[in-house]
């Protein structure tokens, strides 16, 4: 296979995975920036969205209706989560909220299990094929899957819209103020309940989009599918600069690129066209970077998380921690 085309394909892969991570990480970052809460149930929002979509499609609903239903349902769950589980513990120490988010996740996971059983559907559930998202695009000798391209484009569009919202609208401005200094924002007349609800709603909406795209790529759903994505989203947000939306976006794409690198480079010795590098170099690559290394990818990603936490806890964009008013 031509090396150049391989690189281009991986580049598109990286951007599309990066888009998904960025969409998820932004939701986490928005909530964290205002509430100092790491919402691990965010991953389960992704899962819930995928199940909403799956059940709608299995019920033969048209695609547009499915998407609307999925978005509405996920946002509703997100808002409920905030109102019932997180609002009562506002002001509690960090770890309580983190633990609560795990409990919320458990409720969502087990709830989905129950519903799946009730509707007499199997587990794992095969995600119905969506015509518009399956198949590939071909440009000359390059093939990229449609869902990758859609993820990429959709991700960029949504993130641009979000940035505009956050910088140009009053509500967006209020959110940035609340993230900066919550009591001062209250003194501006900002209703922080509304702002927090908005953060959850937007985060849930973006998670829903990511969930749908994930489901298409994964092909099948289980109630536990949200766990790894939320960890990755968290890592992305930390790498980029935790607590800021810009950081989440940068981190998402950085993580996407990193993952693709970690998957593509092991085994590179095998796919290099002969003659491109000296035979001894190629042999060295084959020995030290065997393709089997790629299965360690998740472990590497976490090692990088720990390194970032230790040495550059403010991430790539390096924002400072804010101070509290008494």
């Amino acid at each position: 296979m031509n090396l150049v085309f391989y690189v281009i394909q991986q580049f598109v892969n990286a951007l599309s995975i990066g888009s998904l991570y960025a969409l998820m990480a932004v939701g986490l970052a928005m909530v964290f920036s205002i509430l100092r809460l790491i919402n691990f149930a965010h991953g389960d929002l992704i899962m819930v969205a995928a199940y909403f979509a799956a059940f709608a499609l299995l019920g033969k609903l048209p695609l547009v209706v499915t998407i609307v239903l999925m978005l509405a349902g996920t946002v509703l769950v997100g808002l409920l989560m905030e109102r019932v589980a997180y609002r009562p513990i506002r002001g509690a120490p960090d770890v309580s909220a983190l633990l609560t988010s795990f409990a919320v996740g458990q409720i969502l996971q087990n709830g989905t299990l129950l519903v799946t059983r009730f509707l007499q559907k199997p587990n794992p559930l095969a995600f119905p094929v969506i015509g518009a998202l399956s198949g590939v695009f071909t440009f000359g000798s390059i093939t990229v899957s449609r869902v990758n391209v859609v993820s990429l484009l959709l991700g960029i569009i949504l993130l641009v819209l979000l940035s505009l919202f956050v910088t140009r609208t009053n509500l967006g401005l209020s959110m940035r103020a609340a993230a900066e200094d919550l009591p001062a924002a209250q003194l501006m007349g900002i209703d922080i309940n509304r702002v927090i609800a908005t953060a959850f709603a937007i985060g849930s909406g973006l998670a829903a989009v990511a969930g749908l795209l994930f489901a298409v790529q994964a092909g099948q759903l289980t109630p536990y599918m949200g766990f790894t994505p939320v960890l990755k989203a968290f890592i992305a947000a930390v790498i980029g600069g935790f607590g800021s939306i810009g950081g989440a976006i940068v981190g998402g794409y950085a993580l996407g690129g990193l993952e693709v690198l970690l998957t593509a480079i092991p085994g590179i010795g095998d796919i290099l066209p002969p003659g491109l590098v000296a035979p001894s170099v190629q042999a060295w690559l084959k020995h030290w970077l065997p393709s089997s290394l790629s299965s360690y990818r998740d472990a590497f990603v976490f090692v990088i998380l720990i390194l970032v936490l230790l040495f550059r806890p403010n991430g790539i964009l390096g924002r400072r921690e804010r101070e509290e008013m008494g």
Partner: protein, 234 residues
Amino acid sequence: MLELREVEVAYGNIRALKGISLTVAEGELVTLIGANGAGKSTTLKTISGLLRPKAGTLLYRGQSLDRLPPHKIVTLGISHCPEGRHLFGRLTVVENLRLGAVQRRDHEVVQSDIEHIYKLFPILQERSAQLAATLSGGEQQMLAIGRALMSRPQLLLLDEPSLGLAPILVEAIFDTIRQLKREGATILLVEQNARLALDIADRAYVMETGHVTLQGPAMELKYNPQVEHTYLGT
């Protein structure tokens, strides 16, 4: 306009306000003076809703304040410029000003209000696109006051505007406060610098460890021997 009766506030088990009463009439500039920890800032925070009183009544134009959340109190016309300024450092000067008006309904006039603030503090116009955290101490205080004015308040709560500023800047700030008073504003001023506060105020309350120990026209208190000795250093 504003009336506090026997207000008590506690931080956990620590009683910060042990039953204070004060009033502010329309158009007045009333000042709270006293040492650190006397409860002056706590009083302002209770009025603006950041703290809940344990007991007592707070009335603003006859309406009770003590169950209201801070953002509702702002819409009633009370604006609190907090101690330490608490600007949104990572937002620009003009964004900070806009935030002061973010809950207002009459969006069309917000821009002209910003112009008004720029006339009051010309330096802010120069720095309008700069991040608030990059401003000097005096400029930050000006921005804080400007931001508090953007909500077109009927009652302005100013908490330690002179804090951390060089004397010449403090003079400038107090000149501005004087001007606001001339324009008819109602102001409740908390100040450690008792001299400046008593010069500018109509009436004053002296606070000590959560109680009001003295009150009266500022003129009188300025020449009160106790006040002179404790707070004016003569």
